[in-house]
Amino acid sequence: MNHKLELRNVTKTFKTEEGELTALENINLAIKPSEFLCIIGPSGCGKSTLLRLIAGLDDPSSGEILLDGKELRGPSQDRGMVFQEYSLFPWRNVLKNVTFGLEIQGIDKQEQYKIAEEYIELVGLKGFEKRYPYELSGGMKQRVAIARALATEPAILLMDEPFGSVDAQTRNILQEELLEIWKRTKKTILFVTHSVDEAVYLADRVAVVSSRPGCLVKCAKIDIPRPRKRTSVEVNEFRGKLLMWLSLERTKACIQR
């Protein structure tokens, strides 16, 4: 049993004004070290909720989440997160955003800057250290968010539709860069997306989540060797399968209603 992360019967319900809402039901999932897992599903199916549980920002209503075999408690620097919405601190420039986690740790300033520079370079933003978030494009902001999440050297990187709001071309570039970073840093990555293309291009394995309540309906390995070609036959084939699983889910949900 050398799972990096393991979810056992994880259920999450929210209390809302219309009563209880089950966002996630009975999720079982095990992730190996250095695995790249994509979580795909329709909007509102609970993908963000799942990542928040793993980040420790929320607690599951039942079930347990094991990190290196131990039940996890609250957020910690061993799990970095890139949020769905822009989450850079607007009052800090690029450099200071990336040093945030290091500053909290109380690391010596010189050292902070050295580490931050490394990651800023890794995400290709050298020369932009003094810029404030409002001076950055959407893609640049997400790069900074990635550098910030990496700076504290978490073993797991949680990414919630990080490229959801950038154009298709930039998105492709960012995906390639992310794979490069993944190869170099050997992180375990959980990547949420609702794009089939993105999942097939990036993931070792893809988990399909259905909506209301969010259940894990399919977990499939993507055995296409890297570097993958976005237009190759295997990629297209897998894309077709994935689309089918997703639409099956949709029809099932419709029938249930």
């Binding site: 949020f83 009052w91 909290i104």
Partner: protein, 264 residues
């Protein structure tokens, strides 16, 4: 001058503003000299100008004293207002404990505190500063409170994931910087109210010097209306300079990350 040249001139920065200001002063001069013809009812701008020549030695001293009162009050108001606002905005318990008192004390006009200022502080600079404090404290408190209340949850979550656990660090690294624009707004409003309080406090005899005291003195018993107007203009100008300095240093420098934010 050709029509084009005239237009060109008018388009220059400050041209229309200057013309308008001059027209107003000239109108005032004409009205004072030829229509009212009573320097007690309305002194002419020229008379006001002449009075400055006599006052130039004592005006800076009074400005200094008024600024001292203002500084004491605003400084204390900011220190206490930011602290209490922060506690109330961040900790629910503090909010529930302090809110009733704030709600009861806030509507009391600052000038209603003049008797107590004199009883407690005598005729010291602190007594006048106290009135300014009352005036500046509440806007600073309320704006700070709002800032801390509205801290974006995403920033808090981001900080948590980056290892920010203690409440103290969360305030220092996230909530306080987030609230800075709100605090700045509070201070700016507080400065406006505070300046009114300086004048009123000094007029009401909390002080035996300062612009407000002087302003009332030249009216009663001295009846030097030209000087009265001279002091009124000085009061306005000092406030204007203070406001511009604040905007320059705080909005242009400290809050340059919040470009385009409107502080009214």
């Amino acid at each position: 001058m050709g029509k084009n040249k005239l237009l060109q001139f008018l388009n220059r920065r400050g041209a229309i503003e200057a013309i308008s200001l001059c027209t107003a002063i000239i109108t005032w001069e004409i009205v004072a000299d030829f229509i009212i013809r009573n320097p007690i009812k309305l002194p002419s701008p020229y008379a006001v100008f002449l009075s400055y020549l006599k006052l130039w030695e004592i005006i800076p001293v009074d400005i200094g004293i008024s600024l001292l009162h203002f500084g004491i009050g605003l400084g204390a108001g900011a220190a206490v207002g930011i602290t209490v606002g922060m506690l109330m905005g961040w900790f629910r318990v503090a909010n529930r404990a302090l809110d009733p008192m704030v709600e009861i004390l806030r509507p009391i006009p600052p000038l209603a505190w003049v008797p107590f200022a004199i009883l407690w502080g005598g005729l010291t600079h602190y007594a006048a500063g106290f009135i300014v404090f009352i005036g500046a404290f509440f806007p600073i408190l309320l704006n700070t409170y709002t800032g801390f209340r509205e801290v974006d949850k995403t920033y808090i979550d981001a900080a948590k994931v980056l290892g920010c656990k203690e409440e103290r660090k969360m305030i220092k690294y996230v909530a306080f910087p987030f609230s800075l624009p709100y605090i700045a707004t509070g201070i700016r409003i507080g400065m406006g109210v505070g300046w009114m309080c300086v004048v009123a406090a000094e007029m009401f005899g909390v002080s035996k010097s300062g612009l407000g005291f002087r302003l009332f003195q030249v009216f009663w018993p001295l009846h030097m209306i030209d000087r009265l107007v001279a002091y009124m203009i000085i009061l306005g100008l000092v406030a204007l300079v203070l406001d511009h300095l604040f905007r320059y240093f705080v909005e242009e420098r400290l809050l340059k990350w919040k470009k385009g934010m409107v502080i009214q």
